[in-house]
């Protein structure tokens, strides 16, 4: 397994040090070619910006919604078990299928969600959410947030259920308000759980590919182009393997670096 995992990585590094001749398509050794091209490529910076927006917006929304829904569903009363079970179902739909689902629902002329929004008067009739640069990212995020908020809910629920009862009883006796209990007790005691959830989700979000690929194919223009989808475009569009590998490696380096800093800062251990 070590060899299996290591070989593609080394191969990708080797590729990133090659230069592909545009006409002869021959590879030649040029260690700095792709990396300097990367620094001067505006699309990389655009993609990095989009990736950061995508990751942070999704993470924030999923975290807040996840916590709120977990608090709501954390009850031993009848029926809540069923609601919690239903809440997990979005997790097992293939992301590529989820993307199709939202593609249909966001269709400006016959999509149920788009027409719902249009009916409120916020958008003009026939407005294409995914086809407009300023709203396309929000459309893709909708699918992402729908599919993965349940993941946060599950983790938060597990965290809530493992909290000791005594501090909460003491707080109730002292007459603490619900807001005080949440910010002074629940949130600090859940910090480890939240950190793990953010780490795992953050890693996945940063590498996100399926939703962008299926829903907008990085478009319109480059409005929803992320690092991985840009690498995909270079790879399958221009067949410039060395440069695509370089972008993919850049993604990997950022993910590892940010995760490492995060794990050290919050003392998280997976």
């Amino acid at each position: 397994m070590v060899i299996f995992g290591l070989y593609p990585l080394l191969y990708a590094i080797w590729l990133s040090l090659q230069r592909k001749h545009p006409v002869t398509r021959k590879l030649s050794f040029a260690p700095s070619y792709n990396w300097s091209k990367l620094l001067g490529d505006e699309r990389v910076w655009n993609a990095l910006g989009n990736t950061l927006v995508y990751t942070s917006a999704a993470l924030l929304l999923q975290l807040i919604l996840g916590m709120a829904i977990a608090l709501l569903l954390d009850s031993d009363r009848k029926g809540y078990g069923l609601l919690r079970a239903m809440m997990t179902l979005p997790l097992v739909i293939p992301p590529a299928v989820t993307a199709m689902m939202f593609l249909l629902m966001l269709n400006g002329s016959f999509g149920v969600l788009a027409r719902g929004i249009i009916a409120t008067g916020l958008l003009p009739p026939g407005f294409s959410i995914l086809g407009t640069a300023s709203t396309a990212m929000a459309g893709v995020l909708l699918a992402e947030v729908w599919q993965w908020t349940p993941f946060m809910v599950l983790i938060m629920l597990a965290g809530l259920r493992s909290l000791p009862k005594e501090p909460f009883e003491a707080a109730a006796i002292d007459g603490a308000t619900a807001t005080q209990v949440f910010f002074k007790l629940t949130l600090p005691m859940m910090s480890k759980v939240i950190a793990i959830a953010v780490l795992i989700r953050g890693i996945d979000l940063f590498r996100a590919f399926d939703y962008v690929k299926v829903m907008t194919d990085s478009g319109p223009g480059t409005a929803t182009e992320t690092l991985t989808s840009y690498a995909g475009r270079i790879y399958f569009g221009n067949a410039d393997f060395p440069y695509a590998s370089t972008i993919a490696l850049l993604t990997l380096i950022i993910v590892i670096f940010v995760s490492f800093v995060f794990m050290k800062a919050f003392k998280v251990k997976l």
Binding site: M1, V2, F4, G5, Y7, P8, L9, Y11, A12, I69, L72, G79, Y80, L83, A85, M86, M87, T88, L89, P90, L91, V92, I93, P94, A96, V97, M100, M101, L103, L104, M105, F110, V112, W146, T149, P150, F151, I155, L157, A158, F168, V193, I196, I200, I203, F206, R207, D210, V214, A231, Y235, F236, F241, A244, S245, A248, T251, L252, V255, L270
Partner: protein, 302 residues
């Protein structure tokens, strides 16, 4: 804390409402799968329930019937379309073979490796665990590029033989899921006190016997949960399946082919999507209890 009655009712309503919002896309999808084309593409209004349900989308995708054939039989005008293009039986079979194969391979390796990592001290153990975990950081697109080349050279990508397609995808899914299964199984083995093995061995059991007869039966639930997760991850994988093989097509890839230049076949997409989600729904409900641990690679226990 006992809440007042009206607050409790309010909370119940909110909880049901929120769950419904999250169920809505799935319900809408299922509804779309039994709608006639005219109801899906109605530009004047959103059709909720006022349509005549039809199973034509399932008949075409799951049974391989031809849409035009059905249309002629029933005397209704419908779009024409090749039967083979939408017959998804092969894709379902391909998905089943690949997912079950990958799950079997992954679990066979993960159970033994996790037991060893949990119970035995050996050199490089910590490094090995970190390496396994590190695999999770890799963007699939980064390994995809070298893999396509390797697969081409090894004849696993474009080969006409099914064997090549199945083997190639199974191997990569097994590899991709091994870290998850391994860490998860290790956390389940760690839950079983070491005294259990030691007691068994004092009673004369060999290491193998104490593993297979004593410890393994105690983590049955964990094995099931890990297997389900590996199965679901393999079943839903899209990127690698799309690019690593040309000889077979799994369901998520097949669905994308219903997006055509003349318009998307939403009815077929919805029918196949709904049908493909059902096995996962059943499996996931069976292992609810261990889900959180599985999704956090064993670092959180419920």
């Amino acid at each position: 804390m006992e809440q007042p009655r009206h607050l409790r009712v309010l909370r119940d309503i909110a909880a049901v409402f929120v769950t419904f919002i999250f169920m809505f896309p799935i319900l809408w999808w299922a509804l779309t799968s039994i709608k006639p084309i005219s109801a899906v593409f109605d530009k004047d209004r959103v059709v909720f329930f006022d349509f005549v349900p039809t199973l034509i989308n399932y008949a075409v995708t799951l049974l391989g019937l031809s849409r035009s054939g059905i249309a002629i039989d029933q005397g209704i005008g419908m779009g024409v379309g090749g039967a083979e293009a939408y017959d998804s039986r092969r894709a379902i079979l391909d998905s089943v073979v690949v997912s079950i194969g990958a799950t079997a391979v992954t679990m066979a390796v993960a159970v033994f490796a996790a037991y060893a990592l949990s119970r035995m001290a050996f050199r490089g153990r910590a490094g090995y665990l970190n390496w396994v975990l590190g695999q999770r950081f890799m963007p699939p697109i980064a390994i995809l590029i070298p893999l396509v080349t390797i697969y081409k050279d090894a004849g696993l990508r474009d080969s006409d033989s099914l064997y090549g397609g199945y083997l190639g995808l199974m191997m990569i899914y097994a590899l991709m899921n091994l870290p998850i299964a391994l860490l998860l199984m290790k956390s389940f083995f760690d839950d079983v006190p070491k005294d259990v093995d030691e007691a068994a061995m004092i009673d004369g059991a060999t290491r193998w016997q104490s593993f297979s007869k004593v410890v393994l039966p105690m983590v049955r639930g964990g094995v099931a949960a890990s297997a389900v997760l590996v199965f679901i991850f393999s079943w839903t994988e899209f990127l690698l399946s799309l690019f690593l093989t040309t000889s077979i097509r799994t369901v998520p890839v097949k669905i994308q082919t219903f997006v055509t230049s003349t318009g998307n076949e939403w009815g077929f997409i919805a029918a196949l999507g709904t049908a493909a989600a059902i096995p996962s729904f059943i499996f996931i409900l069976l292992v609810q209890r261990h889900l959180v641990r599985g999704l956090t690679l064993g670092s959180l226990k419920e």
